[in-house]
Each structure stands twice: as structure tokens, then as C-alpha cells.
């Protein structure tokens, strides 16, 4: 059963090849069938493998399949090999299930689009690349997947390439993530140079032996990998690409920019966690970055009007939680939040997509309203997603994953209480912006009429995802509430167990964290639904308006980067328009040209001169022969 592992990747890749080659000549239904079908079969296969893995785990609870060796120059011999262990198994299952549901949704959502087959081929390629990234047992192979998902992200953000704004957004995403890719590559170089291997288990075991904790090499490698992870996962300060990436179609945002690709950074850190534990400073830095991001992105989300930008900032904020968990060493908590987040955030994006489609491409939440009655199915599923996002106690999956993160933050050695406080404030902000969005879109007076309802496939995907958003939490419960820890136990051989703080203080603080979302809902209800005038009065104050505008612009990072990087580069390229550095190449061509003119002057057309030339040549050649 486990030997079929390669098929899981090969199927979407085959779907991509088929659609890329023949997609334009296939009818739309067949395109959707090939696109979603290959992913669906892969998903079924992955689930079956998951069951077989859980029932009869292979030796050492891991399974490695070496397909072939890319090149062999000992000691450098990167292999194309796949590794299935609980961590990658969970990720693969989640990715494939979510991807299948999103493609099911897309088959209806994208219908009538002229790039229908192109969309499915890109999506298939993305799924294949993401699986390569997750299953890779070798850093080079992992990097292939890493760049592959980056490429697909670029292609799909710029999917509607006829609008210049979308292309600019795609380019921005590509370039900003490239900063992280360069750091990741440098990290891989460092590792292969110092440790002489690329195989991930080998790297980790050798690093643990040859690098003492807090040594320079360990810190450098961990820092480089962390920068790569931060760029891919849109963490401050490399987050600027994600809000603009919403230019792509909604299913793309759901799959790539919420559920899977942006969490690749989290996966990378979890996959290489023994390396990171060698460097507590970098790990603490990761936690700080996560905490800052979750607060800043939450505040920025509070100021947005575009529904997809709200969700984009929300994604950054939630990944901030995952980074926080990674930073405090709770790797399985991060992975758990990744799973739960994949379900509820893709649900929210798909719901937003249904709303936007229903309202004729309207993105502004304050031009929507009262959709509760017009789109009941979307409303209820969206509301479940929002509740899960806000971590509504006991009934939602988000509660259990966030609670795990907060309680493990509290148990951290360093600055635990501050990180916990950041998380709790973040949860409050999350509730505010999430319910602001929910109230603005589905409550209040009706402002725009719905022109297009959602059909069977879209509703099915929403319902299934909302179901997962609720039940996915029940496999991991805190010790106060039954103490189920199926998830952490399953991951235990790969990721260390989460240290939970136990004690009276921790218990009461957990209670506080559980109550915060409820308070947030009350505040949101008061501010946005019950007495909106109250807020409008304050909004007129110049200082608050300035803060609001600043937050709406994403705290000026775009302007800063524009000023620091884009403008100087543009200026330099303008100054250096004639390209000084290749002037000597031009000199070569000019000398050749001069010689050419000199030589062409001998082309007189006078036969006798040619004969004389032959004679002189003979004299010179024989002269050389005689003299030497």
C-alpha cells in the first residue's frame, strides 16, 4: 500500500500534462473531470495510505521511497526520494482533501471562464509541486517543490493576465518570495558545505552531533531557513506580497494563499525542527516574528474594506500564531493549527468567492449587506468558518488549536507570558475583524441584489469544509476538557510532545483566553451592528483616522520598500542605461566592425589585385616556411 506513494504525486502531474497539452481541445466538463478527478483519486489513495499507516505502522513509523538518484558525486548525491512519516502524512491528506474540495468548487465557480482548462492545469501542477515539497526526503528535492509552488502561485495570481494590476501583483509576489528563496538556497548551501549531505534525516542527525547548541553554524543555518519560511508564509517583514496576491481567483486564494502554500514555511520549520532547537535564539526570533505579525496583520485586517484583503491579513495573522507555536517549541501545535486553519480559511475564502460571484465581482463589504436571507447556505457555512477563526469555545476546531498554542506559549522558557498576552490580544482583534466582516456582509440592510446563486458543487464543498472546521478539533483537547491528544500522539515520533503548562495560574489564564472571543463578539456586535453611530463619531477624529489609514495601507511597508529598494533600483538603472559593465563587450564589436571595414576595402573588384594578393600570400607563407 505504501509503495504507491509516488502515484500520489504522479497523478496530479499527469493531469497537468494532459490538460496542458490537450486541454484547449477538451470540453469544459472533461477538463474539470481530469483536473479534479486526478486530485480526488490521489486524495483517496492518500487517505487509504493514512489508514494503513495508522493501523499497521511501518518500522520506525516512517517510510522512505527512493525513486532514483539525481546525480552521484560523492559525497554530494541528491536523491529523488519520498518520505512518509506522521508529519508528512497529515500534511498530504489535508492538502489533497482541501485541494479536491476546492477543485470541485472551482468546476462550477470558474465555469464560463475562457481559461477554464488552463486553470485546472495550473491547479494540478500546484498540487503536484506542493506534494513534492511535503514528501521530499532531500533538501534539493524539497527546493524543487518549493520553487514549483512559487511558480504556480505566480501563474495563478496573474491568472487573469489581461488586467495589468493582476500581473503586477503576480510579479510582486514572485519577487518578494524570491528573497526568501535565496535565503533558503543559501541555507541549503551552508548545510551541504558543512554537513556534506542533503538527505533531511541525515542532515538532522549530523547537525545534532557535529553542531553544539547555539554554535555559529547552527544559528546561521536556522536563521537562513527561518527567513525562507517567513517569506513563503508572509510573515513580517516579508509579508507585503500576500494582500496583493488576492488578485487571483478566489479558489486560488483558498488553496494557495490560505490552506497550503503559505503554510509551507511552517512545514519547513517543523520538518527541520531538530536544527532549530539547536538555536534557541533563532527560535525565539521566530516566536517574536509570529507575535508581531499576528497583531499587526489583525489590526490591518480591521481597517480593510475588501473582503479578500481582510481574509488575506487574517491568514497572515493565523500563520503568525503558527510561527508563535513553532517559536516556543510546540511544533505539533503549529501543525495542528495548520490543519484546522486549512479547513476554516479555505472555507472562508470559498464563501467569500461565492458572495463576490453572486454580487457581480463586488469586493467591498460595506456595499454588501443582508445577504443572510438571499444566500442562506453560504451564510451558515461562512458563519461556521468565522466562529472557527475566532476560536469560539468548545464547539469549534479553532478553539482547540488556538488553546493549544496559547497554553504552550505560556509554558515557554523565555517571555512566555508576553507571547501569551500577544496571542490573547490577537484573538480579541481576530474576533473583532471577523465579526465586523460577518455583520457587514450578511446582516443589516440589503444593499445589493444577488444575481447568481451557488450551485450543487459549490455548496457541497462549503458544507464539507464547514463540517471539518468543527470536528477537526475533537482529536486534540486540552487536559481540562477530557485530555484527548490523538493528534499529538500520532505525530509524537516525528515531532516532540507539547509541553502544556499545568497549574492554577495556567488554568485561570486558559479560562481568560476562552472568554476573550465571547467578549470580542459582544464588542463587535455593539460597534458594528447595534450602535454604528458610536464608532462613526470616533472615526472623524483626525488622529484615529490617520491610524486607520495607516493600518489600511498595511502599516506603510509597501511605501517603505518602494522607497528603499524599488526607487534606488529604478534610479540606478536609469543612470546606467548604457550599461557600463558591458561597455568592453561593445568595444569588441566595434573593433571587429573597424577591422571589417578595413578588410572590405581590399574587396576592390579588380581581379589583378586579387591575383597579386594570392602571389603576396604565397611569398609570405613560403617566407615563413623558409625562415623557420
Amino acid at each position: 500500500m505504501l509503495n504507491c506513494l509516488w502515484i500520489v504525486i504522479a497523478l496530479p502531474l499527469a493531469g497537468f500534462a494532459l490538460l496542458a497539452l490537450a486541454g484547449s481541445r477538451m470540453p469544459g466538463r472533461l477538463c474539470a473531470l481530469v483536473g479534479a478527478g486526478t486530485v480526488g483519486i490521489s486524495a483517496a489513495l492518500a487517505l487509504a495510505m493514512g489508514v494503513s499507516f495508522a493501523v499497521s505502522p511501518p518500522e520506525g513509523r516512517q517510510f522512505t521511497q527512493t525513486l532514483w538518484s539525481w546525480m552521484s558525486v560523492p559525497p554530494f548525491s541528491p536523491e529523488v526520494s519520498l518520505r512518509l512519516d506522521p508529519l508528512s502524512l497529515v500534511s498530504v491528506c489535508v492538502i489533497l482533501v482541501v485541494a479536491f474540495l476546492i477543485m470541485l468548487y472551482s468546476s462550477e465557480f470558474m465555469s464560463g471562464d475562457e481559461g477554464y482548462s488552463r486553470f485546472f492545469s495550473y491547479m494540478d501542477l500546484f498540487v503536484a509541486a506542493m506534494l513534492v515539497l511535503v514528501l521530499a526526503n532531500d533538501l534539493v528535492f524539497l527546493y524543487l517543490g518549493w520553487e514549483g509552488v512559487g511558480l504556480c502561485s505566480f501563474l495563478l495570481i496573474g491568472f487573469w493576465y489581461k488586467v495589468p494590476k493582476n500581473v503586477v501583483a503576480a510579479r510582486k509576489a514572485f519577487l518578494v518570495t524570491r528573497v526568501g528563496d535565496a535565503a533558503l538556497l543559501a541555507g541549503i548551501f551552508l548545510v551541504v558545505n558543512k554537513l556534506g549531505t542533503l538527505s533531511i534525516p541525515e542532515v538532522l542527525s549530523r547537525a545534532a552531533v557535529s553542531w553544539p547548541a547555539n554554535s555559529g553554524a547552527a544559528n546561521a543555518a536556522a536563521a537562513l531557513f527561518a527567513v525562507g519560511a517567513a517569506a513563503k508564509s508572509a510573515q513580517i517583514p516579508l509579508h507585503v506580497w500576500l494582500p496583493d496576491a488576492m488578485a487571483g481567483p478566489s479558489p486560488v486564494s483558498a488553496l494557495i494563499h490560505a490552506a497550503t502554500m503559505v503554510t509551507a514555511g511552517v512545514y519547513l520549520v517543523a520538518r527541520l525542527h531538530p536544527l532549530f532547537t539547536l538555536s534557541p535564539q533563532v527560535l525565539f526570533g521566530v516566536a517574536i516574528v509570529g507575535a508581531v505579525t499576528l497583531l499587526a496583520a489583525g489590526l490591518a485586517a480591521l481597517a480593510q474594506r475588501d473582503i479578500k484583503r481582510i481574509l488575506a491579513y487574517s491568514t497572515m495573522s493565523q500563520i503568525g500564531y503558527m510561527f508563535l507555536a513553532l517559536g516556543v517549541g510546540a511544533f505539533s501545535a503549529a501543525e495542528f493549527h495548520f490543519v484546522v486553519h486549512a479547513f476554516f480559511k479555505s472555507l472562508l475564502f470559498l464563501g467569500a468567492g461565492a458572495v463576490i460571484r453572486g454580487l457581480n465581482q463586488e469586493h467591498d463589504i460595506f456595499k454588501m449587506g443582508g445577504l443572510r436571507r438571499a444566500m442562506p447556505g453560504t451564510f451558515w457555512t461562512f458563519a461556521i468558518g468565522v466562529c472557527s477563526l475566532c476560536a469560539l469555545p468548545l464547539v469549534t476546531a479553532g478553539f482547540y488549536s488556538k488553546d493549544l498554542i496559547l497554553s504552550s506559549a505560556l509554558a515557554a522558557h523565555q517571555g512566555g507570558i508576553w507571547l501569551w498576552l500577544a496571542g490573547v490580544i490577537g484573538a480579541f482583534i481576530t474576533t473583532l475583524y471577523a465579526f465586523r466582516m460577518l455583520f457587514a456582509v450578511f446582516f443589516g440592510e440589503v444593499r445589493t441584489q444577488v444575481s447568481k446563486g451557488s450551485g450543487r458543487n459549490m455548496t457541497l464543498a462549503l458544507v464539507v469544509l464547514s463540517l471539518f472546521s468543527v470536528i477537526a478539533g475533537f482529536c486534540q483537547m486540552p487536559s481540562g476538557l477530557g485530555g484527548v491528544s490523538l493528534f499529538a500522539d500520532f505525530l509524537a515520533p516525528t515531532l516532540p510532545q507539547v509541553r502544556e503548562g499545568v497549574g492554577r495560574l495556567q488554568g485561570s489564564l486558559s479560562l481568560v483566553a476562552a472568554i476573550v472571543p465571547l467578549v470580542g463578539i459582544m464588542v463587535a456586535w455593539t460597534m458594528y451592528l447595534h450602535r454604528p453611530r458610536f464608532l462613526q463619531g470616533y472615526a472623524r477624529l483626525p488622529a484615529l483616522a490617520a491610524v486607520h489609514g495607516f493600518a489600511k495601507q498595511g502599516f506603510g511597508f509597501d511605501a517603505l520598500y518602494d522607497y528603499c529598494f524599488v526607487k534606488p533600483v529604478v534610479y540606478l538603472s536609469r543612470v546606467n542605461r548604457r550599461d557600463v559593465s558591458i561597455a568592453y563587450v561593445g568595444a569588441i564589436s566595434r573593433v571587429a566592425e573597424a577591422l571589417h571595414y578595413l578588410l572590405s576595402m581590399t574587396q576592390t573588384g579588380r581581379v589583378r589585385w586579387y591575383a597579386a594578393g594570392v602571389g603576396i600570400g604565397a611569398v609570405v607563407l613560403i617566407g615563413i616556411g623558409v625562415l623557420l
Binding site: 602571389g615 603576396i616 611569398v619 613560403i622 617566407g623 616556411g625 623558409v626
Partner: protein, 177 residues
């Protein structure tokens, strides 16, 4: 017979010089015929009677006759000699003569090291024929192809050159190219 070689060589050189310097084309050709006949004698003294015969038949005979025909076809008048003189002032010989002398000096210096003698026995025509149609058969075939190409080329070029296929007198301005 050595003396025969040196006499023939002297005649060949003198008549060749005369051939390239004459203003009258027919005179030049006649001097060249003398030169070829004396070279034929040189071949004979070098033990190549077959080649000597060919030199007389083909070079002094066929090729020179071809030149003669060409000159007669061109129908050069009395003013041709005048024009030749005008074309060839003595001074232009200086440069080419110098170049040729340098080349000759170089070659002479190169050849002067050899002490070898030419053969004391003639190479019989039968030997030449056996080698020609044995070892060099492929070369003979190639030579025949070359001759065929020359025949076709000369026929094409010699065809009423420069005149259009249709009768002359097109008023449309599309004259002969």
C-alpha cells in the same frame, strides 16, 4: 642528352617571357606554342614520352587552337595592338616582376638543398596507363565529370549570350538584362 634539357629549358623560359609581353595576341600565342613544344622536349628528356606527346597534342595543339579561335571570333582590329600598348606601360611590369622574382628566389633557395638526380630510365606509357586505370580510376571518373561539366558550361555560356528568348523590339522597356 643533358645539354638537350638545358637548351630546351632556355628556349621555354625565353619564349614564355616573350609570350606574356607581346602586344599582339596572335604573336603571344605563337610564342607560347614554341614554349610548350620546348617543354614537351623537357618532358621527353625527363623520361616521360607519353606526357611529351600529350603536351604537344593537347596544349600546343588543342588548347592553343581554342585561343586562336577565340581571338578570331573577337575579330580584333589593327587598333587592338595600339590599345594593348596603351594598357601596358612598362612601369607596371616593375611591381609584378619584383613580386615574381622574390617568389622565384624563395623557391630557388628552397630547391637548392636537394642533391637528387632525375631518373635514368623512362617511365613507359604502359606503366602510366596501368596506374591510371587501376589506382587512379576514381580520379579518372571525376575528371570525366569535370569535362562534362565544362562542356555543359561552355555550351550554356556560348549560347547567343545576353539576348532574350523572344524576338527583339519590346516597347515596354523590358530590354535584355
Amino acid at each position: 642528352m643533358n645539354i638537350l634539357f638545358y637548351v630546351a629549358a632556355a628556349i621555354a623560359i625565353v619564349s614564355s617571357i616573350a609570350a606574356i609581353t607581346r602586344s599582339h595576341a596572335i604573336h603571344a600565342i605563337l610564342f607560347l606554342v614554341v614554349s610548350f613544344v620546348s617543354i614537351s622536349l623537357v618532358f621527353y628528356t625527363l623520361g616521360a614520352p607519353f606526357i611529351a606527346a600529350l603536351e604537344v597534342i593537347t596544349y600546343a595543339g588543342a588548347i592553343m587552337v581554342l585561343f586562336m579561335f577565340a581571338i578570331m571570333l573577337l575579330n580584333l582590329g589593327a587598333h587592338a595592338v595600339q590599345r594593348e600598348r596603351q594598357w601596358q606601360p612598362r612601369i607596371v611590369w616593375a611591381g609584378s616582376g619584383l613580386l615574381s622574382l622574390i617568389l622565384l628566389a624563395q623557391l630557388a633557395w628552397t630547391f637548392s638543398f636537394g642533391k637528387a638526380q632525375t631518373g635514368s630510365l623512362p617511365v613507359a606509357p604502359s606503366q602510366v596507363g596501368a596506374a591510371l586505370f587501376g589506382t587512379y580510376l576514381l580520379g579518372v571518373e571525376l575528371a570525366s565529370m569535370l569535362l562534362l561539366a565544362g562542356l555543359a558550361g561552355a555550351y550554356y555560356l556560348g549560347k547567343r549570350s545576353g539576348e532574350p528568348e523572344h524576338p527583339k523590339g519590346g516597347a515596354d522597356g523590358n530590354g535584355p538584362a
